[in-house]
């Protein structure tokens, strides 16, 4: 088990480098000079510009810039943003915001998905099942952007039940709307996988065997159907997290939540390569760790993976 974990982490290192380098290259390739744009129309003395360039390594070649950002990150020296904010401080403020949003959105989406998926799976082709299938199809087809603005307009502006944007109302009020928007988009896929997986498990031969052993329905359900039906759902739990993070970039910007997603969005707009590399590295590491945890869990739940 330990060897498996170590191997996975070692394998993640080169992938992490490629991912962050790729993201950085995209930022680097964007047209325009970030510092000049930041100054707007105001003229900047050449000496100031040169000093700033040196501070943010902008005067160095592409790969050297990337290398220096990685070195600073490894040393824990996050430095400051172009407009002078301390990045370490920013992370301390912003990580809890994104964490709250992600956890709340996850809680919502898993509760809805497990309830709907399980119910539809057992009562397949019933009214609830048909409704679920139609609604998930609808939800999967509607972009998060449309959903978020609609929710903001209806629940925030018209009905005034929840704050429209900002984190001013604190937890959980300020987080409810964005978390629900994320959850609605995320739950559909999970619910459908769970439904299919339950239908498959219920109809599998080993359930017939369990009944032929004279087991009660509850025992058949909890000892035989459920342990098999959850496996595909556990698998998607890992990469679903990536969806939540990608969604957070958009949601935090729409709902003006001062989290990491919003930070990343601003950094990309200002072409702050250092911040982008830092944040994408952070996202990547979290993604790898969560997927590692899921894989370990999967091995615990499914012996076929353990021995494979």
């Amino acid at each position: 088990m330990i060897r498996f974990v170590v191997r996975r982490i070692l394998a993640a290192v080169p992938i992490g480098l490629v991912v962050t380098l790729g993201v950085f290259a995209l930022v680097f390739a964007m047209p325009g000079d970030p510092l000049r744009e930041l100054a707007g129309d105001k003229p900047i003395p050449a000496s100031v510009l040169a000093a700033k360039r040196a501070q943010f390594h902008l005067d160095r070649p592409f790969l050297v810039q990337y290398g220096l950002y990685m070195k600073d990150m490894a040393a824990g020296q996050f430095g400051s943003t172009f407009d002078g904010q301390d990045i370490g401080e920013q992370l301390k403020l912003r990580v809890p915001v994104t964490l709250r949003l992600a956890l709340l959105a996850n809680a919502f989406q898993w509760i809805i998905a497990l309830l709907f998926g399980t119910y539809a799976g057992f009562k397949r082709n019933g009214a609830a099942d048909r409704l679920l299938m139609a609604s998930t199809l609808f939800v999967l087809a509607v972009p998060l952007l449309v959903l978020a603005f609609t929710a903001q307009y209806v629940l925030g502006v018209q009905l005034k039940v929840l704050p429209v944007s900002g984190a001013g109302a604190g937890f959980p009020q300020s987080y409810l709307l964005p978390a629900m928007a994320l959850a609605v988009v995320g739950f559909a896929g999970i619910a459908r996988v769970l439904r299919t997986s339950i239908v498959e498990s219920v109809n599998s031969d080993f359930v017939k065997t369990a009944r032929a052993k004279g087991l009660g329905e509850q025992r058949v359900l909890w000892r035989h159907i459920v342990p098999n039906a959850i496996l595909p759902v556990v698998t998607i739990a890992g990469y679903d997290f990536a969806g939540i993070f990608a969604g957070a970039v958009l949601t935090e910007s729409i709902f003006n939540l001062p989290g990491l997603g919003q930070f990343l969005f601003q950094a990309i707009r200002l072409k702050e390569g250092g911040v982008v590399v830092l944040l994408s590295m952070l996202a990547f590491v979290t993604f790898v760790l969560i997927n590692l945890a899921v894989d370990v869990l999967y091995g615990v739940l499914d012996p076929r993976v353990r021995h494979g």
Binding site: S204, D205, T209, G214, L215, P303
Partner: protein
């Protein structure tokens, strides 16, 4: 009536006039039509037929593991030592099915729970039906694995189904089915998924265990070779009905129903070397569009006009012999 060890030769399971329908979008469909058979302690009954002939459906219906709905038992009884399983409440039936009557399925890989160790799956029988602790159940599971001759049973008990070979997996299924020393074992194509040598081993194992315990075995198969090897009695099914019933050796020597005859003739043997293997012409009928009268009529070499009129009843054609054919109402030897 029930309770106590069955006497040798006692009728343990007596199925009478069992009919099963399934609801489809095109209306109800009769899968099993008036099937009757019985099996005695220490004996083996083979139910022979092609896929779709209703063999599996009939035994799953009487043990209550058939999906109902969409299936439905429309008539008949299945008495286990006098008690009708079909009329029972599920709770009552579960005390018999799984304890006194157990089942072995065709594909042990899919019929065993893939995420539970084989030991726990066997131990579950003892926990549920005998109230044993898991620890005692596991100890008994090791004994059972040993009894079905799985090498190194003590260490293999915590292995999972995918870690066994096909033949060993089928032995695990047998261990599970025999764990509670049942009176009747229903084996649904237990050797179909196995290669021939392993097949023979499993059949031998069944026969040996049967000799020890005097259990009754209901063996569902489409393989005539298997029937010839182990069965005492045989019931031949076609399109949901019993078309012939006999003590095995007789049926194999002198089939009465043209379908049984066709099956026997299409069995490969050394005598046919170099010759084309005879086959029954045509295909089994769709249950959606059963021919009127005898369902075998369109494929039958003996068919006459009257065959289309009524479904032929099972007629007594000789001592212990019955067949459902209006053209064959006596044993072949007697006709000649």
């Amino acid at each position: 009536m029930s309770g106590g060890r069955p006497q040798p030769g006692e009728v343990l399971l007596d199925v009478t006039d069992l009919s099963v329908e399934v609801d489809t979008v095109r209306g109800p469909l009769r899968l099993v039509d008036g099937v009757s058979w019985q099996v005695r302690a220490g004996q083996t009954l083979a139910i022979l037929g092609e896929s779709g002939s209703g063999k599996t459906v009939s035994v799953q219906a009487l043990t209550g593991i058939l999906d109902m709905p969409p299936c439905r038992i429309t008539g008949g009884t299945a008495r286990f030592r006098g008690q009708d399983l079909i009329a029972m409440q599920p709770r009552e039936r579960r005390r018999i099915v799984g304890d006194r009557i157990t089942m072995v399925f065709q594909d042990a890989l899919s019929a065993l729970n893939p995420v539970q160790s084989v030991g726990r799956q066997i131990a579950e029988c003892y926990e549920v039906h005998r109230g044993m602790s898991r620890r005692d159940g596991m100890r008994r599971a090791v004994e059972m694995l040993d009894r079905v001759r799985i090498p190194a049973a003590a260490s293999r008990v915590s292995d999972y189904p995918h870690q066994f070979s096909g033949g060993m997996r089928q032995r695990v299924m047998m261990a599970m089915a025999l764990a509670l020393d049942p009176d009747v074992v229903i084996a649904d194509e237990p050797t179909t998924a196995l290669d021939v040598t392993v097949q023979a081993q499993i059949l031998e194992l069944i026969a040996e265990l049967q000799a020890e315990t005097h259990m009754a075995v209901v063996l569902i198969t489409h393989d005539l070779g298997v029937v010839a090897d182990v069965a005492h009695d045989v019931v031949v099914m076609y399109a949901g009905r019993v078309v012939e019933r006999a003590a095995t050796l007789q049926a194999l020597d002198s089939p009465v129903h043209p379908y049984t005859e066709g099956l026997l003739r299409s069995m490969p043997s050394a005598d046919l070397k170099g010759l084309e293997l005879p086959a029954i012409p045509g295909t089994p009928p769709s249950l959606y569009a059963l021919p009127s009268g005898c369902a075998f009529r369109p494929r039958c070499p003996l068919a006459v006009g009257a065959c289309a009129d009524v479904v032929p009843p099972l007629l007594h054609v000789g001592p212990g012999r019955e067949a459902a054919c209006i053209e064959r109402t006596a044993l072949p030897g007697v006709i000649a």
